[in-house]
Amino acid sequence: MKLRRTDLFRPRIATPLVFAVCLLGCLVVGSVDAQEVQVQIVGEGDVQFNVALGGVMAGADGRAETAQRWVRGFIQNEFNNVERVCKPSTKEAQALVDVAEREWKSRLSNTIRAYAESQNQRINADFESRVERLVQIWVRDALSDEQYEKWEQEIDVRLAYRKRIVIGRMVMDCERKYGLTHAQMQEVEKLTQERWKDSWWSMYRTGTLPETKFSWISKVLSESQRTAGTDRASQVTEHFMGGGFVDMPTLRLDERFKIGSVSSSEEIPLEKVEPSEPADRKMLLFEVAPKIFVPDRDPRR
């Protein structure tokens, strides 16, 4: 059956259609307080409305800037350590800071975007590991083999600390789960170390404790502990807590990377930082009108 334009006005079709439009209207009116509305003058007499959904896109620029500051802070911290550990010459240091200044944004864009567009406003990007791997590549390319070896040793020490923490937490989880003694905890630690994967650290940093498989440690458990081990309800709980202090270093976007007294070359442009409104700024629709900027000069002239 072919529909004609006039069929749209028949009650059977028009009623649900109008009903749906009304429903949509109500939803828009109701959810406007969760939206961020920006109004700016783009030309003489032209007003551009830029509506973005709050919680999803609101403050994405602000979050991107925060992520960029953190990423740059991590890079700068790494360079401070490179200076102490590898002792690069002025030329090597210059090469290193220049390559970092040119490439940091494009090489870490995924990490920055992951944080900026995080829909549930979580710190769920592992900035530290990403930066660490990238700086390792830059150091390998810019410095001598001997210096790179020293740097690798430095990274290994850090990895050892991370391994101790994640495995420690896994052992603590087992202690809670199975009621282990201290001697058993040490045995479980050894068995878990044998199965270590570097990816566990990233998992842990983003809020998930790697699972200690029952089969890995069952030989350490007594018969009664094995039976208790089948109780799935005794597992560790992980959750996200709102707010608090962050363990992130920071470097402004208009501040250059440095190794000792060597800064990145002046010809590499830096981002201009404009003061922006806080990321969680929200505005109601009726607040739009007073915010419209009216230019002094007469637009008709």
Partner: protein, 294 residues
């Protein structure tokens, strides 16, 4: 013409204005604006709100709803980590794990095991009966003072069952032991009790050490410590474990360190960073619930 035609057709539908009205009223934004759930959709029975009598001069009630005994009961079990059923389950699990650990450390007879399990069962039943009896006398519309007084009574009842950090410093458990724990310890010899106590201390130390290391790595992340500094600060952390519980506490401790000491451990850049406060975020941060045994 077509628009006019369509409007004419639409106005002929008798249910259309009613539909718009219902949708408008049902929408949460409308409810928020008026501050009420629309009467047409409100399934809750209106509660009788008794205004405090100003002539009596008493304090106003703390809340605008009645605290039914069930609500007090839910609050009591909520403090113990969930509902009545989850508390019963977790209590059994805790008893079982404790017995399994002791069995592993120094052995435990089947008689003691049965006795402790039976005590825990009876204790749960008694607690449940006590809570039911107490909440039946609870004030329905308590003032702030009445609420506090009653909560104290409730707390006295439930505190022995409150889960505390298993690996906190030994001897710092500020709670009365549950009856099943007392029965268990009375059935253990002094030698066995010492073995168990030593094991608890070692487990506690293991867990605290992991926590200290984690705080150390957080500090390292902000300041950019190298491997040598990590080694030095780990020793400092082991010497003063209380300060290394959280990033905030250790930041305050390190910032308050004498300048000569700071120069010994940190570079100039790190010292400047240390003099500034930590960055704050409103974002959600991952937390693992390891400090609360079930």
């Amino acid at each position: 013409m077509s628009i006019l035609h369509s409007f004419r057709l639409l106005t002929q539908i008798p249910c259309y204005p009613a539909l718009i009205l219902v949708v408008f009223l049902a929408h949460p934004s409308t409810a928020q604006q008026t501050g009420k759930i629309p009467n047409a959709l409100n399934r809750n029975q209106p509660e009788a709100v008794e205004d405090p009598d100003p002539k009596k001069g008493g304090d106003p009630p703390m809340m605008q709803f009645e605290m039914e005994p069930e609500r007090w009961s839910e609050m009591a079990y909520g403090t113990l980590g969930g509902t009545r059923a989850t508390f019963e389950q977790s209590l059994r699990r805790r008893v079982r794990k404790t017995l399994n650990r002791i069995e592993q450390l120094c052995g435990i007879s089947e008689d003691v095991r049965i006795k402790v399990n039976a005590t825990a069962d009876l204790e749960f039943q008694r607690l449940d009966a006590d809570i039911t009896a107490l909440v039946s006398e609870a004030p329905r519309r308590p003032t702030q003072q009445q609420y506090q007084d009653f909560y104290q009574k409730l707390w006295a009842l439930i505190s022995p069952f409150q889960p505390t950090a298993q690996w906190g410093p030994p001897g710092q458990e500020n709670r009365n032991k549950a009856l099943w724990e007392k029965v268990l310890h009375s059935n253990l010899s002094e030698d066995h009790q010492e073995i168990i106590s030593n094991d608890q201390r070692q487990r506690s130390e293991y867990n605290n050490r992991v926590q200290r290391l984690e705080t150390l790595l957080k500090v390292s992340r902000v300041l950019g410590l190298d491997s040598k500094q990590l080694g030095i600060l780990e020793k400092i952390a082991d010497a003063n474990p209380a300060a290394w519980i959280s990033l905030e506490s250790v930041w305050t401790t390190l910032a308050a360190m004498p300048e000569s000491q700071q120069r010994e451990y940190f570079t100039e850049t790190q010292r400047i960073r240390l003099s500034r406060p930590l960055e704050y975020t409103n974002d959600l941060q991952p937390v693992m619930n390891w400090n609360q045994p079930e």
